[in-house]
């Protein structure tokens, strides 16, 4: 925003810190290459192009995208609410939002099952309308939403809070109503945080396994997403885990592609 920020120079990070930085990177990347090393290249193409694999991938991408959309619809307002609450209220809300992160996803699945299942509060209610959610694709989306929502909320809330309210005040004084401010000031200014939140949210959604397995089951074509397909392949009586590794690779490559794509979309950065 000022002349100083035009500088091309990197910041002032002590160079010794590059050692732990690369170690950290290695910690994340090397195990994955160990995985790639186990790929059986001979059968790879066949494994990843079976109708089951492709249907699982399609289901993952579809449900993941839908779950992300739902997260945006509910998460953006929730993040705004938290960002604009008094510190104490915000801390409590933030803790509530963080809890699903702490619980092993399986427990989340159980909780969802207890809620939407035949004996659950909501399940009973919905049953009266002849609607059953568990073990449908809807359940997959719900489970993904449950585990991925915290990511979107926390990432976006941070961005909104960091942006502050000064520009909003200015916009309001210029006569803008709440919706105009939201659309033309708050969202554009916090856009990088929203993009980051969407990426994290989508990543978590398509990687979701535990809650889905319990709440949605593992029915091919309906609820068997990539992680469940990998799990099934892995648990199968087959001789090698070749298929499981191949599917993992497929998920990995798809995820990287989507991530890089989204990053490329990045709107004209504000800073």
């Amino acid at each position: 925003m000022t002349i100083a920020s035009r500088s091309l120079k990197p910041g002032y990070v002590p160079q010794v810190l590059m050692i732990p930085a690369f170690l950290g990177l290695a910690l994340l990347v090397v195990p994955l290459s160990a995985l790639v090393a186990r790929v059986e290249w001979a059968t790879l193409w066949r494994d990843v192009t079976t109708p089951e694999a492709l249907s699982a991938l399609g289901l993952s991408l579809g449900t993941g995208a839908l779950a992300t959309l739902i997260c945006v619809v509910f998460g953006v307002p929730l993040a705004l609410l938290i960002a604009r609450s008094r510190p104490r209220t915000a801390a409590i809300l933030r803790a509530a939002v963080t809890v699903p992160l702490v619980l092993p996803p399986m427990v989340g699945g159980v909780a969802l099952l207890f809620l939407f299942g035949r004996n659950g509060w909501l399940g009973q209610l919905l049953a009266e309308f002849g609607v059953s959610i568990t073990f449908t694709t809807t359940a997959v989306v719900l489970a993904q939403t449950f585990v991925a929502l915290p990511f979107l909320v926390l990432a976006f809330e941070g961005a909104v809070r960091a942006t502050g309210t000064d520009y909003e005040q200015t916009a309001a004084a210029l006569g803008a109503g709440r919706w105009t401010i939201l659309a033309r000031v708050t969202l554009p200014l916090a856009a990088p945080g929203l993009v980051a939140g969407v990426v994290l949210c989508f990543a978590r959604a398509i990687g979701e396994f535990g809650a889905t397995a319990l709440f949605a089951g593992n029915a091919p074509g309906v609820t068997r997403t990539m992680p469940l397909a990998i799990y099934t392949a892995f648990n199968g009586a087959g001789v090698t885990q070749g298929t499981a590794v191949a599917l993992s690779l497929l998920l990995l490559v798809t995820a990287i592609a989507v991530l890089l794509l989204v990053r490329a979309w990045r709107p004209g950065s504000v800073r």
């Binding site: 004084a173 210029l174 006569g175 033309r184 554009p188």
Partner: protein, 334 residues
């Protein structure tokens, strides 16, 4: 009550603010619709705080701010900003960083449902007035400090608020540019305006009335020329480029306040009736020569550069000073 197209509002502010830091502000200003009032005062006196309070950005401890009779801020509640009809241009221009200069200026008009084309035309005309029309499509980060300030001024004025508050709008500008903007604000602003400035010329050129704030309190208020003609405090006198002395200048003005120009003080070779001795504490260069500052009483004396060399004046020199009683304006000491 929302922003009305160019209709100036009456402003009536009775502001009392107590801060934890020990600072407290107590000020009362009323403006007729369309009136322009200047606010001056030393750094930290509370000028920005007053503007923030009027804008509804700073909660009041006591008092109320009314616009056209309608209370927009009180200790109990503050109306939402888009209901206030007040635009504040703060010391920081705070342009929207993600919008171009033109889009920044359009913002207020668009928010008031002016059509896209009209808003664009309006923005360009305002940018032209402040001399930055060729920068219309630049991002704020690509503007110089003064250019940013001018665009922010255009944005505030283009929104045609009922009341506009300008906090040092011309500071980052060279004298020529500043003079041009002063002219525009004076002639083309139809809002009621409260303008904080450090430059007496701003007050003279733009404002009908002047409010001087010192240490959180209004030390003097009135028509600009009258305030400058009869400064109530040393600070006001210095703004007006005058000496204000209450004692120590030759006994002639006992119990009175003497107001005179630094240029009217004469340096004598010998004592005479009404003259006084004073020690030079500071020398200051000015455009026309040098200004000497003396102590007890604190009096500024303007002399030509040649005189300085001739008389061998330096800090510490003691001088015999005299001012022609005809050039002195006297006030009764309050």
């Amino acid at each position: 009550m929302t922003l009305r197209e160019g209709a100036a509002s009456a402003l009536d502010a009775d502001v009392q603010i107590m801060r934890g830091s020990g600072f407290s502000l107590q000020a009362q200003v009323s403006l007729e619709p369309g009136e322009i009032v200047a606010v001056m005062g030393p750094s930290g006196a509370g000028k920005s705080t007053l503007l923030a309070a009027v804008a509804g950005l700073e909660p009041l401890s006591r008092g109320a701010v009314r616009i056209d009779g309608c209370e927009i801020s009180s200790p109990q509640r503050i109306a939402p900003a888009h209901r206030r009809g007040v635009v504040l241009l703060g010391q920081d221009p705070r342009l929207f960083p993600h919008l171009s200069a033109a889009a920044n200026v359009e913002f207020g008009m668009r928010a008031q449902r002016v059509s896209k084309a009209d808003a664009r035309a309006g923005a360009l005309s305002w940018l032209a007035k402040v001399g930055t029309v060729d920068l219309a499509d630049r991002a704020p980060a690509q503007l110089s400090g003064g250019q940013q300030q001018r665009v922010a001024l255009a944005r505030a004025l283009a929104a045609r608020p009922g009341v506009v508050l300008l906090d040092e709008p011309f500071t980052a500008l060279d004298p020529e540019t500043a003079a041009g903007l002063r002219e525009i604000v004076h002639a083309q602003v139809h809002s009621t305006a409260l303008i904080v400035t450090h430059d007496a010329v701003d007050a003279l050129a733009i404002a009908s009335r002047l409010v001087v704030i010192e240490d959180g309190e209004v030390s003097q208020a009135g028509l600009v020329r009258e305030v400058f003609a009869a400064p109530a405090t040393r600070f006001v006198a210095s703004l007006a480029g005058r000496n204000r002395v209450t004692e120590g200048i030759g006994g002639s003005y006992l119990g009175q306040v003497a107001i005179f120009k630094p240029a009217d003080v004469q340096i004598l070779a010998h004592q005479r009736g009404g003259s006084w001795r004073a020690r030079v504490t500071r020398l200051e260069q000015t455009l026309v020569g040098v200004r000497l500052h003396t102590e007890s009483p604190a009096v500024a004396v303007d002399i030509e550069l040649e005189d300085l060399a001739e008389r061998e004046i330096a800090v510490g020199t003691t001088l015999e000073l005299w001012v022609d009683p005809q050039r002195v304006r006297t006030l009764t000491n309050a």
